[in-house]
């Protein structure tokens, strides 16, 4: 590791000002579970590390008029422990539980996980399935967009220079929906996802509506399986229908082929996983 300057602002405005002043040489540090590893191995030191873990508004979880608002600095452990999240979006807790180990979850933040924007990030699929929006602060003030738009490409978000992610909002309409998540890795603990699948389901008069299926780690960013969703919407749920939708979802993914797993195995996992999350989301929607 090489020497670098360090600053820990207490407010969003201060943080934005520091980022604006230092340009691309400034790097954000929240939980550090990703960045500190980078820092240790990178060949160049950053000009300045901006530690945003002391910005108190980042650690709030609250119900607002828009929906459930979760600060970007909320840790995965805090997600797992939150009664509000347990009540309104329990699938987020299932996803949080699959991230790293206990220590990683104690330090790592939701915002940090999302801004890495790696295809395999575990927080993404449930939030996409729940149509989450994000708020961004920058020199021009705040702006919001959907999380789907926030994810631009592998390790590339919609954040402009000197901007930072402040919170994540799950819209009111999505709260309490039947939602389910599965992660498939090479082992149970501390695994990188080979495939992540989430689904949320709305039931109208025993027919499926507004089904959202999100696939992680099988495309440049978390994607929706739109064709599979269309196949399901307006139909009465059944095992056969879910199997068919899972097959369809697999055709929408473009997984990589590498030493961890072949593309065809990842497709097998989508087929198995999509079927399971749909069945579980349905069960929860009916409950």
């Amino acid at each position: 590791m090489r020497p670098f300057d360090y600053v820990a602002p207490n407010t969003v405005d201060e943080a934005v000002a520091i980022l604006a002043e230092n340009g691309p040489g400034a790097r954000l540090l929240a939980g550090g579970t990703d960045y500190v590893v980078d820092l240790k191995h990178s060949s160049k030191a950053p000009k300045i590390v901006v530690d945003i873990s002391r910005i108190s508004e980042f650690s709030r979880i609250e119900m607002t008029d828009q929906g459930l608002r979760i600060g970007s600095g909320v840790t995965h452990t805090e997600i797992m422990d939150s009664a509000l999240i347990a009540k309104h979006a329990p699938a987020m807790q299932e996803a949080a539980l699959t991230i790293g180990a206990v220590q990683t979850r104690n330090l790592g933040t939701l915002g940090g996980n999302l801004v890495t924007c790696v295809p395999s990030l575990d927080s993404g699929p449930v939030l996409i399935a729940l149509d989450a929006a994000v708020t961004i602060a920058g020199p021009q003030g705040k702006r919001t967009m959907t999380l789907a738009d926030f994810f631009v490409g592998p390790r590339k978000t919609a954040l402009e220079p000197a901007e930072l992610l402040t919170d994540i909002v799950i819209p009111k309409a999505m709260l309490g929906r039947g939602c389910s998540f599965r992660k498939f890795g090479l082992r149970n603990g501390q695994a990188l996802a080979l495939v992540n699948v989430a689904a949320s389901i709305n039931l109208e008069k025993a027919k499926l509506s507004d089904v959202r299926i999100a696939l992680g780690a099988v495309a440049p960013t978390v994607i929706r399986a739109i064709k599979a969703e269309n196949l399901l919407n307006g139909k009465a749920p059944s095992d056969d229908l879910f199997t068919e939708a899972a097959e369809m979802a697999a055709t929408e993914a473009k997984p990589i082929n590498d030493f961890r797993a072949s593309a065809s195995y990842r497709l097998d996992l989508i087929r198995a996983g999509a079927k399971r999350v749909l069945a579980e989301a349905l069960e929860r929607a009916q409950a």
Binding site: R2, L186, R187, G189, L269
Partner: protein
């Protein structure tokens, strides 16, 4: 035959143990009762220290983070070292230019292989360079070492070193490497060691057998992954003596290798081992030590070197991949009459412990079974891959996976229960091993019975989706034929406590606790009365070290004998004081007392004090022990390669997800023989740890290489080891046994615990979903592929 050990029988010793704790000599602290006691086997009447669940003196500092490892140590003006490693898996070195690197900020010294007096080392053949001189043979070969003020400065300087290579063809598959056309890695042939074991007439017996079964099995390369990577510090004393602190598990041989490579007399070199943060066989050889010594010499400053995790993967030794072909002839009743085994061992770029691994693997490859006609042919082959060397089990997990998978294939074909076919063929007391050795303290059948009973093997299955698999094994204690002596010194202090000096190293297994218990037992004092001082070549006697599951058996015997000599001095001192002959005395309950007249006794402290201050003959003893072996005939392998063997059975219960191939190991019941368990808690710890390594070998771990011989996953993100969430429930049962050749009947347990795990898991997968995985690891993808092939094949069967 009924099992010798049952839970029921074990209740009785618990009572006597409790009483032992209530008596005059609490061998264990009273407040550690943790409900684990029922497994303790019967404590011999004269053994208040042996058999006790003594708490490790180092457990508290470990848990509090107070244990000092090498990387915690620092010396004034200490430099840090980084090593530039090869760019190619196989290449000639044309030139090395360090001039630019030496100008880098903070750089104090550099070192190339040419500057090392004797650059090569190795336990069997000295074919491995500390730093490559004219050729690199795998990507982990070091080429230049740099010492700088900080690690980062040393790392930055590596980029400025200019090495010109002439790349050579790589060879990664051992079967390819055996071909005449393969590029040669050392000399004229890539086959550098062979072993043959012949017994009976295998061809004739195969002809006469009712059925012949064949199978090929392959295993992968895996890493030890100790939590503490290899680390050392070298400094020169003002007297000109060299002092090396090292994470080596074997300091006696470490010092010999350092002396040899530096061309220095041994008395000028002091090797001190700190507590080692995990060894598993990977810290049995020197790595950094002579390099640091020379950098320290050049710079005139202490020099530290610590491997990164990547160094650990690409440069330290690993487990040998084996390719194993089995041909077995059986009668229609399932009696094995002949077995032919061909083993090709991927020996990596250098021999290291391959020769030994090959020998052990070959001897054990037949399995713990009575087979009259045997032929084993085994070869170790160079490849341009990471060096394969010593690793927990020395070839045994590989061959056990093969012979036990093969066994279940035979059982299935003949319609015999897997437990029954093993009982029909298993060794018994007095069986003759494949090398013609008469076996003693054989409890493989007892381990089968114990595991089966505890598992509920014969009970009706409650859950039909679950598969179960059994595997048994045998494993030797100590080196294959080669002398592996331990020496020890035991001093009885003037207050009746004792100090033991041993050259072995605590590598995490709790050996020092066990050795202290052995000394306490012999001296009739409590385990807490003994302090064990270890691992300093200047102050402790020679020891072959923490390898080959030998510490309890070999070092334990040496300590027992040394303690006995010290005790004889106490007896000689006490005899006139008590008015009896020395032969009438015994040491018990911190007393020297007259046998059968415990009221006639002196405290051991008074006797020791008298010996030192009145008689002028302090109570100390030294002794050594080396297991008795007989060399093996090179043509037939016949001989007595080991002093003794242990036996074990493990049974796994698994669930296999047929849509994803994911194998969930739910439960492993393990029944292990270790002779007398000196400390049952530590035996259980070994079994649990060994099983976690076995689960990794079975399902997850594999070092992967690209076509150029570069490792694809030299990190803990992509090298998949089981976590606590991947571990099954483990039930440990210690099989009652006593080996008269061991200290208080003890043998050993370190390595064998990881031997049958992969085999029993593969058999459980076979039982659950009917697919036979013949190459490890059984990744979910591999299992799913096998299930898909099974489903493709099944309709055909129905049609025919």
């Amino acid at each position: 035959m009924a099992p010798k050990v049952t839970v029921k029988e074990r209740k009785k010793p618990l009572e006597s143990l409790k009483q032992a704790d209530n008596g005059p000599l609490p061998a264990v602290l009273r407040d550690i009762g943790n409900g684990l006691l029922p497994l303790t086997p019967e404590v011999n009447k004269q053994t208040p220290a042996v058999g006790q669940r003594v708490t490790r003196p180092d457990s508290r500092p470990h848990v509090l983070g107070k244990t000092i490892y090498i990387d915690d140590m620092t010396f004034p003006n200490m430099l840090h070292t980084k090593i530039l490693r090869s760019e190619y898996a196989h290449a000639k070195i044309l030139s090395i230019d360090v001039s630019e690197a030496e100008k880098m900020p903070g750089v104090v010294a550099t070192l190339t292989g040419k500057e090392i007096p004797v650059v090569t080392f190795g336990p069997s053949y000295q074919d491995q360079p500390l730093l490559a001189v004219d050729k690199v043979r795998h990507l982990g070969d070091g080429v230049v070492a740099v010492a700088a003020e900080t690690e980062q400065q040393a790392q930055d300087a590596l980029a400025k070193i200019k090495v010109k290579y002439e790349p050579l063809e790589v060879v990664l598959d051992p079967l390819e490497a055996m071909k005449d056309s393969a590029p040669k890695i050392h000399g004229d042939s890539n086959v550098y060691a062979t072993k043959t074991i012949m017994k009976g007439d295998v061809e004739k017996a195969l002809k006469e057998a009712d059925h012949i079964f064949e199978g090929q099995f392959r295993t992968q390369m895996v890493e030890h992954v100790p939590i503490e990577p290899h680390a050392a510090i070298a400094l020169w004393e003002p007297t000109g003596d060299l002092h090396v602190y090292s994470s080596l598990g074997r300091i006696t041989l470490g010092r010999a290798d350092i002396a040899r490579t530096l061309d220095m007399p041994m008395n000028r070199i002091r090797v001190t081992a700190t507590i080692v943060g995990g060894n598993f066989g990977g810290k049995n050889e020197i790595t950094l030590e002579p390099i640091l010594a020379l950098l320290a010499k050049k710079s005139g400053r202490p020099v530290k070197g610590v491997f990164t995790r990547e160094d650990e993967f690409i440069s330290s030794t690993t487990r040998h991949p084996f390719v194993m072909d089995y041909t077995t002839g059986v009668t229609k009743d399932g009696i094995i009459v002949a077995r032919k085994v061909r083993i090709v061992c991927d020996g990596g770029a250098y021999c290291s412990w391959s020769e030994t691994t090959l020998g052990k693997g070959a001897i054990l490859s037949v399995g713990p079974y009575n087979i009259d006609n045997i032929k084993v042919e085994a070869s170790a082959v160079y490849t341009t891959k990471t060096t394969t060397g010593a690793m927990r089990g020395f070839g045994a997990p590989q061959v056990c996976f093969a012979y036990e998978s093969h066994m279940d294939d035979i059982a299935k074909a003949l319609g015999i229960d897997p437990l029954e076919i093993r009982l029909k063929n298993a060794f018994h007391e007095g069986s003759i091993s494949p090398t013609g050795q008469v076996l003693h303290s054989v409890v493989v059948k007892e381990s089968l019975h114990t595991a089966a009973e505890q598992f509920g093997w014969k009970e009706e299955r409650k859950n039909k989706r679950r598969g179960r698999g059994i595997a048994c094994m045998w494993y030797p204690i100590g080196f294959t034929v080669a002398a592996n002596a331990s020496a020890a010194v035991v001093k009885v202090n003037e207050d009746g406590t004792a100090t033991v000096l041993t050259g072995t190293v605590e590598t995490g297994q709790g050996s020092l606790t066990v050795l202290g218990q052995i000394a306490a037992e012999e001296l009739g004092i409590a385990a807490d009365d003994v302090k064990v001082v270890s691992a300093d070549t200047d102050t402790t006697p020679m020891d072959t070290g923490a390898i080959a599951s030998r510490t309890t058996y070999v070092t334990g015997n040496a300590i027992m004998l040394a303690a006995r000599k010290a005790k004889m001095i106490l007896f000689k001192t006490a005899a006139p004081m008590l008015g009896v002959k020395a032969e009438q005395l015994e040491a018990r309950d911190r007393k020297i007392q007259v046998m059968n007249f415990p009221q006639k006794a002196l405290s051991i402290g008074d006797v020791a004090h008298h010996a030192q201050f009145v008689n002028g003959e302090p109570a100390l003893g030294s002794a050594s022990f080396n297991p008795h072996t007989v060399a093996m005939d090179p043509a037939t392998g016949q001989g007595k390669p080991f002093g003794t063997y242990v036996y074990a059975t493990q049974i796994a219960e698994v669930e296999v997800d047929e849509e994803t191939g994911v194998v969930d190991v739910l439960r492993i019941v393990a029944a292990h023989d270790c002779g007398t368990p000196i400390n049952p808690t530590l035996v259980e710890g070994q079994v649990e740890g060994g099983i976690s390594m076995g689960v990794g070998l079975a399902l997850y771990e594999e070092m992967l290489f690209d076509a150029n011989g570069k490792q694809l996953n030299p990190n803990l993100t992509n090298y998949i080891m089981p976590t606590s969430l991947d571990m099954p429930d483990v039930e440990v049962h210690i099989v009652d046994n006593f080996d008269p050749s061991g200290p208080f009947g003890a043998k050993g347990v370190g390595e064998p615990t990881s031997v049958p795990t992969a085999a029993c898991i593969m058999n459980a997968i076979f039982d659950a979903v009917g697919v036979r995985i013949t190459s490890l690891p059984a990744t979910a993808e591999k299992v799913l592929k096998a299930i898909q092939e099974r489903d493709k094949a099944q309709p055909k069967k129905i049609a025919s």
